[in-house]
């Protein structure tokens, strides 16, 4: 069973999490949904395209202008409430590492805290436990928020990702988060070289068998771009190839920019793996 805030999933089907950035400078959308109305339109669009949940972000992951907690709250706090009012059943995740931001967005109706910076703020899990929220435990190799990796080194990157995310999961459980509300994420690109990200993709099954659902965030990232020699706007085929490999390994949640394409890839792989019936099969069966 998986419980993401108000929503309980009894089945094992994959979920598509659509990225909704309330940032002026994120690497892919470059401020396209920074304005609140544009972000609301993006939410409606991704819901129509079949997103199971959304992930709202108020701070660009990479380097950029400093964004205070107050500014982050101004970007995402009331916006979560507006989305909740417009989409009462939608599962809402917020991408934040700050416990003070978490408290506000959970009060506004968010279900999930996506801590892309791997527990940098130790109080984040306490807020998740207090609000009975779900938490996504990522592996960053100890990198501080909004920091690019420089010569990261691991004896075994997948072993490190598993050990660190499980340790984070233990902290979440100790803080009162339910086991069925803990998700782990190897965090492609975060604290990793392209070679590391390729390796965790190739070995993802080692993580999907440890007992927690796995989220993968692959969408248009640098490891795709560096692997194929493609700029940010040209990485969809590479993203979908990595998505297919992760789906075969059993990743449960896919954090993406392109919902419809991801949905098709994940559903196709799920059916190839024998985990999902075809949509409507009659060929050769009449």
């Amino acid at each position: 069973m998986l419980k993401l805030g108000h929503r309980v999933y009894e089945d094992e089907l994959p979920l598509v999490m659509a990225i909704v950035n309330r940032t002026p400078d994120s690497f892919y959308d470059r401020g396209a949904t920074y304005a609140e109305d544009a972000a609301m339109e993006r939410v409606a669009q991704v819901v129509a395209e079949g997103a199971d949940l959304i992930d709202i972000g108020g701070v660009k992951a990479g380097y950029g202008d400093y964004v205070s907690a107050q500014e982050e709250i101004a970007r995402v706090g009331a916006f979560v409430g507006r989305v909740r009012a417009a989409h009462p059943d939608l599962v809402i995740s917020v991408d934040t590492w700050r416990s003070e931001v978490a408290r506000v967005v959970l009060s506004e109706g968010a279900d999930v805290l996506n801590d892309a910076w791997g527990g940098h703020d130790p109080a984040l899990v306490d807020v998740a436990g207090e609000f009975d929220a779900a938490i996504i435990c990522t592996h960053t190799g100890g990198l501080a928020p909004r920091t690019d990796p420089h010569r990261p080194a691991y004896d075994d990157v997948m072993a490190a990702a598993i050990a660190d995310t499980l340790a984070y999961a233990d902290r979440a459980l100790a803080a009162g988060v339910r086991k069925e509300s803990v998700v782990i994420d190897p965090a492609h690109d975060f604290g990793k070289t392209t070679f590391h990200s390729l390796e965790i993709t190739r070995r993802l099954e080692e993580m999907t068998c440890v007992g927690y659902p796995v989220l993968v965030s692959l969408s248009n990232k640098d490891f795709v771009g560096e692997t194929l020699g493609r700029e940010a706007g040209e990485r969809l085929p590479g993203t979908l190839a990595a998505t297919a490999v992760c789906a075969m390994a059993g990743a449960r949640i896919y954090r993406v920019h392109q919902v419809r394409e991801t949905r098709d890839v994940v559903d196709m792989v799920w059916s190839i793996a024998g985990r999902r019936p075809p949509y409507r099969a009659i060929r050769g069966l009449a």
């Binding site: 949509y279 009659i282 069966l285 009449a286």
Partner: protein
Amino acid sequence: MRIAVVPDAPVLRPEHASLVDPAPQLRAAVAEATAWAERVVCLNGSARRTTTSPGPYDERAVSFDRALLAALTTPDPAALRGVDQALARELWADVSAAGELADLLEGKEWSVRVRYDDAPYGVAWWVLCYERADG
């Protein structure tokens, strides 16, 4: 004695289940008929009825199916025994059990109910229910 005639369409098997059933009416009719019947006989008409049928179109297919359905619904055991099996194979019809059905029907009065008669994917599917007219 209650007898049902149904097609042995693979789409009905559990291992071929889809999220959206391509043949819900046929499935419902088969489920009802097989639950009701004491004996079930599997056969179906041609799979070469149209240009979108599984087999290449054959202009003899529709008339073959029409004659076969008439023999089934009369019912006419002699006509069922006399079905041209070679032609049936050419037309991709599954009628190998026609003789068995004829033996079951022989010498008795039957009321026949056509529960399903359609070919949505170019294969003649029938669900027929036979009940002794004299009880």
